[in-house]
């Protein structure tokens, strides 16, 4: 089983969004950027949102099985941040399998990322969510402690 404990270094309780309200892909990106912008390390929320939208034009960040991982580098942020969010009904995110997306991991890194943490972290999340049991538990997690347990690979 993939170990997601490293993800917790970049995620905290403020960035566990249980129920996104947006009804469109662009709306979800804006809502995700708004939540992340509560962190003072986000220097420019508008710049962050523009980067996320442009990244989608390169190719959807939905990877199938109801999961999307919007990601990118931007001057808008000072340090790597991860946010996890859910959407109850699911959103059309132009996924390769055309399934609506219910689980979102947002990962944003500064351009300098001197320790090269960003791509391995992205890979770790992509690997983790391949497991159906993990996706089920991510949907069911009620508290941040539940989420942390899933990411740490405990209670499985």
């Amino acid at each position: 089983m993939a170990d997601g404990s490293r993800i917790l270094r970049y995620l905290d309780e403020r960035f566990f969004v249980r129920d996104l309200k947006a009804k469109t892909k662009d709306g979800v990106l804006k809502e995700l950027a708004d939540y992340l912008s509560k962190d003072r390390e986000v220097r420019d929320p508008r710049l962050l949102l523009e980067m996320l939208k442009k990244r989608e034009s390169l190719g959807s960040t939905a990877i199938g099985s109801g999961v999307a991982i919007p990601h990118g580098r931007s001057l808008a942020i000072a340090n790597i941040k991860v946010l996890f969010a859910r959407h109850k009904k699911g959103i059309d995110f132009e996924a390769p399998d055309e399934e609506p997306v219910r689980l979102f991991f947002l990962i944003v890194a500064p351009p300098q990322d001197t320790n090269n943490e960003y791509l391995p972290l992205l890979g770790q999340i992509a690997e983790l969510v391949k497991e159906p049991a993990i996706r089920d538990r991510l949907i069911e997690a009620q508290t941040y402690a539940d989420l942390a347990q899933v990411l740490e690979g405990q209670g499985s």
Partner: protein, 121 residues
């Protein structure tokens, strides 16, 4: 030209750099392969290049010239400042330098490496 205007100019340039970085990574065979193995499909490179070219028209021509000149030497023409340190060359900025504000017209650049400083306070 007031402080808000210069911050707007800096934001336009910053978005251009974000786009350039994204294109650079999508063109990098190793990085592209890594992302595709994770399940991301990057078929929109031409679309992204077109968006970048369109965006360049939104940037002040003087700023664009400066940006293009710096990019020839450094991949990242704009770098953040943290605790008065330029995160391009890691040299501490002199105390006489402060974040862009007021009626400042020129973008701030690092005296040591020449990069444009992304410094908001």
């Amino acid at each position: 030209m007031n402080g808000a205007r210069i911050l707007d100019r800096l934001q336009r340039l910053s978005h251009l750099q974000d786009l350039e970085m994204m294109i650079h990574e999508a063109e990098d065979a190793k990085a592209k392969k890594a992302e595709e193995e994770m399940g991301f499909h990057m078929r929109g490179l031409e679309k992204l290049r077109a968006a970048r070219d369109k965006w360049r028209a939104q940037v002040d021509p003087r700023d664009l010239r400066l940006f293009d000149r710096i990019v020839k030497r450094h991949l990242r023409a704009i770098v953040p400042v943290e605790e008065r340190i330029c995160l391009g060359c890691y040299v501490t900025l002199p105390t006489s330098v402060s974040p862009p504000a007021g009626d400042q017209d020129r973008l701030l650049t690092c005296e040591n490496c020449g990069r444009i400083l992304y410094w908001l306070e």
